[in-house]
């Protein structure tokens, strides 16, 4: 290779590597802000601020959803299998909201440690399958398949 071109090749490679390192360091420093939500274990450990709006993410605990008979109020527990946090929400829930499924709730923590949510989003997992396959799995290994964290 011509020495000038070789020099340019080194310069181009340096440019890519250095800019990657710079942006990588910035992303590493801001990792707490890039995370969309706090897992319940962090909320219980007091890592989440209590004076402003936060997002909480995890799985809805099986059998924990309680709906009001007359209002749109719903309470449920969110877990990451290391801890659970209660969520209170008044409003319409997304179609995919269900027990044992992923959820991201936005709101403020009250004094009792319950998240008073202003928005609840369903977090869809990466599993796609036809209904027949799902029914067949449900009979055998379905619970084990779903224990992965969001």
């Amino acid at each position: 290779m011509h020495p000038i071109r070789k020099q340019r090749l080194v310069l181009v490679s340096l440019m890519v590597v250095l800019s990657s390192v710079a942006i990588g360091l910035v992303a590493f420093a801001l990792r707490d802000n890039i995370n969309l939500f706090y897992p319940p274990a962090d909320v219980i450990a007091g890592k989440a601020p209590t004076d402003r709006t936060i997002r909480l993410g995890g799985m809805v605990v099986e059998g924990s959803i309680e709906r009001s008979e007359t209002e749109l109020d719903t309470t449920f527990w969110v877990t990451d299998y290391e801890g659970s946090v209660a969520v209170r929400y008044s409003g319409i829930l997304p179609d995919l909201f269900a027990e044992g499924e992923g959820v991201v709730a936005e709101g403020m923590l009250d004094a009792a440690g319950t998240l008073v949510a202003t928005q609840v989003l369903a977090k869809h997992d990466e599993n796609y399958m036809p209904p027949e396959v799902a029914a067949a799995l449900e009979g055998k290994t379905a619970p084990a398949e779903r224990t992965a964290l969001p």
């Binding site: 340019r8 310069l11 995370n35 991201v104 869809h124 796609y128 399958m129």
Partner: protein, 245 residues
């Protein structure tokens, strides 16, 4: 090997070669798109939780995949342009940028349309979606930067630097769902091990991804040909070609 690369850099040779390529690629792309869309939208089974709304995957995922791959095409052309100063590399870079921008926009819009019924929100500032928006701005930035310069050689150099610096965003987009907590789900198609998507839904998806790759190649080639025609509008080889036809 080297003779082919040298030929690729020659406008008259490339113009003839790309003409043949386009003639083959056009029917292949159209039939792949029709087959993939028919298979994915009508034949593939509905999803066990989302029903039919998941079918937007057949547009969303191929557009996103090719938008990422297309960026590498643009950045590599930028590197070749900086190191070897080949005009054809400038033209490739310039031709790929608007196509990539459109694909990224398709991925963002279809994602929003899917997100509303599935998640309950059109837009969430999570790592995957935000880095994808940055990719869109990078593509638009390259398009705008090219237009901002009067001197097209200087324009190509500036665009090459921008696209090379932007390459760091591609692995970030790809790994964002694994590195940070995000609302966007992790990848369903896995290169190692079993995919999280059933094979009856996976095969039409792979076909659509292939179709989008062909569509990208086709549109970039057509863009390059238009660019070449304009750049060489006064040259003798084009006049000969036009006179002969």
């Amino acid at each position: 090997m080297w003779t082919i690369i040298h030929k690729m850099g020659s406008p008259p040779w490339f113009f003839r070669f790309s003409g043949v390529l386009v003639r083959w690629l056009l029917p292949i792309t159209i039939s792949l798109l029709v087959m993939g869309a028919f298979w994915g939208l009508l034949v593939a089974p509905p999803d066990f939780r989302q029903g039919n709304s998941y079918r937007i995957i057949y547009i969303h995922v191929p557009a996103a995949v090719v938008a990422l791959a297309g960026y590498y095409v643009m950045a590599l052309a930028g590197a070749v342009s900086l190191i070897w100063r080949i005009k054809m590399a400038d033209i490739t870079m310039r031709a790929a940028a608007p196509v990539g921008a459109v694909l990224t926009a398709i991925a963002l819009v279809t994602g929003a349309i899917w997100g509303k019924p599935t998640w309950g929100a059109w837009w969430v500032w999570d790592a995957r979606i935000t880095s994808m928006l940055i990719l869109f701005f990078l593509y638009l930035g390259v398009v705008a930067l090219f237009e901002a310069y009067e001197n097209k050689t200087a324009a190509a150099r500036a665009c090459a630097v921008l696209s090379l610096v932007g390459t760091v965003n591609i692995p970030i987009i790809y790994k964002s769902v694994d590195w940070w907590y995000s609302l966007h789900q992790p990848a369903s198609i896995k290169f190692t091990g079993e995919s999280a998507i059933d094979s009856s839904m996976l095969y039409p998806l792979l076909l659509m991804i292939l179709a989008f790759y062909c569509l990208f190649a086709l549109t970039v080639l057509l863009n390059m040909r238009a660019e070449l025609l304009w750049a060489h509008r006064e040259s003798s080889w084009l006049k000969q070609l036009a006179g002969g036809a």
